[in-house]
Subunit: 316 residues, 2 copies
């Protein structure tokens, strides 16, 4: 389900390093060369390159990339090159520091990563920022938002398939009552979304639909005045329909007047090695235009080329 | 700081297994032999024995121990023989199911284990109970207790020594205001105890003492009507003065009319390989009697012998 294309014969790590080093030399930077290497190596290979680069040249590859590249292209290359947990640590740190009520990045990372993956993010956060993710989230948020976000980023959900249908029934009823009464940040609503396994939440939402007729996502849609509702809705979407959630983020980023490069970059960099193929197909279906065509229309230059490469549509 | 005595020449794992198997054979059980082996092997050795026992006899050593032993002795041997994260998973599961407002076992385990240790407990909880620790804790608790316990058991605190003194000052002030106003379960009080690193909480309590004259533990002592206060106090104690906390648990368990074997067993089984030596010294100082003498006075039989062995006072 990855869109990453790794060539059948990958050059040695030493060769990749040498080529990257060359790309930085002389007048100007060889962006095409950088894309041809980094956009076609998986996480393990990129990590090995970064390691070997430091050994060979005594410098951090990321710092050199930072020096040589600029704007959206730079951001995409840097995020992509980072090890996934470290990348998520950087993204959660930014989302926490610049936190606004409409920022859904914390929910996205807390709810779409595998349980152990989220622990690795928290570990990377420790080593990079000398603090814990949850302490920063708790410190920078307040009220209902803290009440939801703190347990979400601290979760270590059970990942087995076992589902308790009796419980799903009773918790579907709780959700329905609370949502009907507009008690969106009720203790039990938050307990259910923040602690139950994804399989269990899914079973609960099925019971909800069977029993009360509507998809819960639909029931969370009609309340323009409530600032908390969108983040609760995003939580359910990320837990149960992550690919649909990401398709929507891409759609909104691309349809926005001026394009939301931040969101586009984030989704492509974080999902290319995970489920971007599914997201891409969903995008095509939902928008009647292939994702790469929409991207080519909305972006340009090296940024465009790197995006197209990562979504698996260049000629590599 | 461990009280465990492992003999200089440990028999092979196969020999230990054979001896344990012999101890179960024929009329009666050879409890002395069981103690002489299990009470003198470290966690890694006990794990290897359990593994080899299953390989050799096709049976779970813990089930055989369960069948052959009884009452307090059985409980101590079983808890001790379990791998530490699995043992904590069992203890937290029991504490959650039989949860009462005065039960401090969840706080004790959440706040005295190293950060990675607590993650291992949550992992062991997944595999043993097919649910997450935090979902069970959230489900079985309510109100202020859930508000404190859920983030405590979900925490993955930063463990570096770095301390932010400015922050310690400002959070000491918050704690003082809230405690003075008896807002013990205030959002910020819980945020501070549940997310800050132990070093940071310690710095905050030092600032508290410098600025406001009293130890925070003292300020949390005078309110008989408040059910939440004892658990908040235990949280601070476990985070900053764990050995004092455990000494107090032992003291109260032993001084109680009839002895609280549950608490005595738990502290000895969980701390013997960690810091029981310090706790033992504190106990002696605080009670003017050595811990082993107090134990011998209050317990008897194989249970007494196993306790004495684990606190490092038998002739092994």
């Amino acid at each position: 389900m990855s869109t990453l294309i790794v060539p059948p014969h990958v050059p040695s790590v030493a060769e990749d390093c040498e080529q990257l080093h060359k790309a930085f030399e002389g007048w100007g930077t060889n962006e095409r060369l950088i894309i041809s290497i980094l956009a076609h190596r998986n996480a393990g290979q990129r990590k090995a390159i970064r390691h070997a680069y430091a050994e060979t040249y005594g410098k951090d590859l990321l710092k050199d990339l930072d020096k040589e590249l600029s704007s959206d292209f730079e951001r995409l290359v840097l995020l992509w090159t980072l090890d996934p947990p470290e990348r998520d640590a950087v993204l959660t740190d930014e989302a926490t520091k610049k936190w606004t009520k409409s920022n859904q990045v914390l929910v996205e990372i807390a709810c779409t990563r595998p349980s152990k993956g989220l622990i690795l993010v928290r570990e990377a956060y420790h080593s990079r920022f000398k603090r814990s993710l949850e302490e920063d989230v708790a410190y920078h948020t307040t009220g209902d938002f803290r009440k939801l976000l703190l347990p979400l980023v601290s979760s270590y959900r059970y990942e087995g398939d076992e589902v308790n249908l009796r419980l799903a029934k009773s918790e579907a009823k709780i959700l329905h009552e609370k949502i009907k009464g507009k008690h969106y940040s009720d203790d039990d609503v938050i307990r259910i979304v923040a602690t139950r396994s994804k399989a269990q939440v899914n079973a609960t939402l099925n019971e909800y639909k069977n029993e009360f007729g509507n998809d819960i996502i639909k029931d969370l849609e009609h309340d323009d005045d409530n600032e908390f509702l969108p983040i609760l809705k995003a939580t359910f979407e990320c837990l149960v329909y992550p690919e649909n959630y990401f398709e929507k983020v891409l759609r909104e980023a691309i349809n926005k007047r001026g394009t939301d490069e931040g969101a586009l970059t984030r989704v492509v960099a974080t999902r290319a090695e995970v489920d971007l193929k599914i997201i891409k197909d969903l995008y095509h279906k939902r928008n009647s235009v292939p994702l790469h065509r929409a991207i080519v229309k909305d972006t340009h230059g090296d940024y465009e080329k790197m995006l197209v490469a990562l979504i698996g549509e260049d000629d590599a």
